[in-house]
């Protein structure tokens, strides 16, 4: 290519370029979008091997449809979120279900663990609590509060109405709060 404009091009423009055989466009798209697929899959599945399989499969499907991508349709990222979420759903339904009542035990108390724990431990605690949620609530909470998407976009991704999204996130957050509240002291949560 005479000019390297890939850094400024939209995802949709890059996909069209890839569809016309531009290898650099695919590398840029991979750098931008593969982390999205992988991140969502990791948070949904909490299993690195499965998350990598899902991410690779989601991107594979993107490469396959590149030639038919219509720029007036949904954004590439919305499409990828949906494909990733559906692939995760498929995987989760193959696993044995885990009920919301299966509250995790608090971390083993070493002497002096009343100290404030690092934020990394809070992230890990959230990951574990998320894994206890029903799949649709988990998905809605991840997309809303970890991916930072709007309710209308989540509605598009999950193929439900906006009110349904709000209901799922509200229920998911209540369940998370219940699961995590029991660990406030362990996690150095100092609110009074």
């Amino acid at each position: 290519m005479a000019l390297d404009l890939t850094g400024e091009a939209s995802d949709e423009a890059l996909l069209v370029l890839y569809g016309n055989g531009d290898a650099a466009a695919a590398r840029e798209l991979s750098a931008r979008l593969a982390p999205l697929c992988h991140r969502v899959a990791m948070r949904m599945l909490a299993d690195r091997a499965e998350a990598e399989d899902v991410a690779q499969e989601a991107m594979l499907r993107l490469w396959r449809i590149a030639g038919q991508w219509r720029s007036d349709e949904a954004r590439v990222s919305t499409w990828l979120y949906r494909v990733t979420a559906n692939l995760c759903t498929d995987r989760l339904r193959r696993r044995r279900g885990v009920g919301i009542d299966d509250i995790p035990e608090p971390a083993d108390g070493q002497p002096g663990v009343a100290d404030r724990m690092m934020a990394a431990d809070r992230a890990a605690a959230l990951e574990k609590a998320l894994s206890l949620l029903p799949e649709r609530q988990r998905q809605a909470v991840i997309l809303r509060h970890l991916e930072g998407l709007s309710n209308p976009e989540i509605a598009q991704i999950m193929e439900i109405g906006v009110e349904a999204v709000e209901s799922l996130t509200a229920r998911g957050k209540r369940a998370l709060a219940q699961a995590l509240a029991g660990r406030r002291e362990d996690l150095g949560y100092d609110h009074d």
Binding site: A34, R61, A66, G67, A119
Partner: protein, 124 residues
């Protein structure tokens, strides 16, 4: 649940969300390499230049149909379907190419020399 409880829960959760957002899981180098390799294997090829008819011996699939110029688009697509079955699906990424070559580099997936595809249908 009272409104106060809900607000406290939201505040509690927000700390966890902030911590989790600050630590996103990152894809491994191996995963990124596989994804880029898939893209290379499935990359649509730019269309081949229009083949020039040449006389000469040898089998030419266009001869079965009275020549390319005599065929409309639908017949051409039908011939392309025969060609895909004959030569392998890997050169037509949007059809079935994804089924092949996931572990292979681009050069090992192509069954034909680059550019040879459609030209072989009418040229020898």
């Amino acid at each position: 649940m009272t409104m106060t409880d809900r607000t406290e829960d939201d505040a509690l959760l927000e700390d966890f969300f902030v911590a989790a957002r600050a630590r996103p899981p990152q894809p491994s180098a191996g995963l990124m390499a596989r994804i880029v390799a898939d893209a290379a294997a499935l990359a649509p090829k730019p269309p081949a230049p229009a083949p020039r008819r040449r006389t000469g011996g040898g089998w030419r699939i266009g001869d079965f149909f009275g020549g390319w110029s005599a065929m409309g688009g639908l017949a051409t697509a039908a011939v392309a379907g025969v060609w895909i079955g004959f030569a392998g699906a890997d050169r037509f990424g949007s059809v079935a190419g994804g089924m092949l070559g996931l572990d292979q580099t681009e050069s090992s997936v192509n069954l034909l020399p680059d550019g040879a595809g459609l030209a072989l249908l009418t040229d020898n």
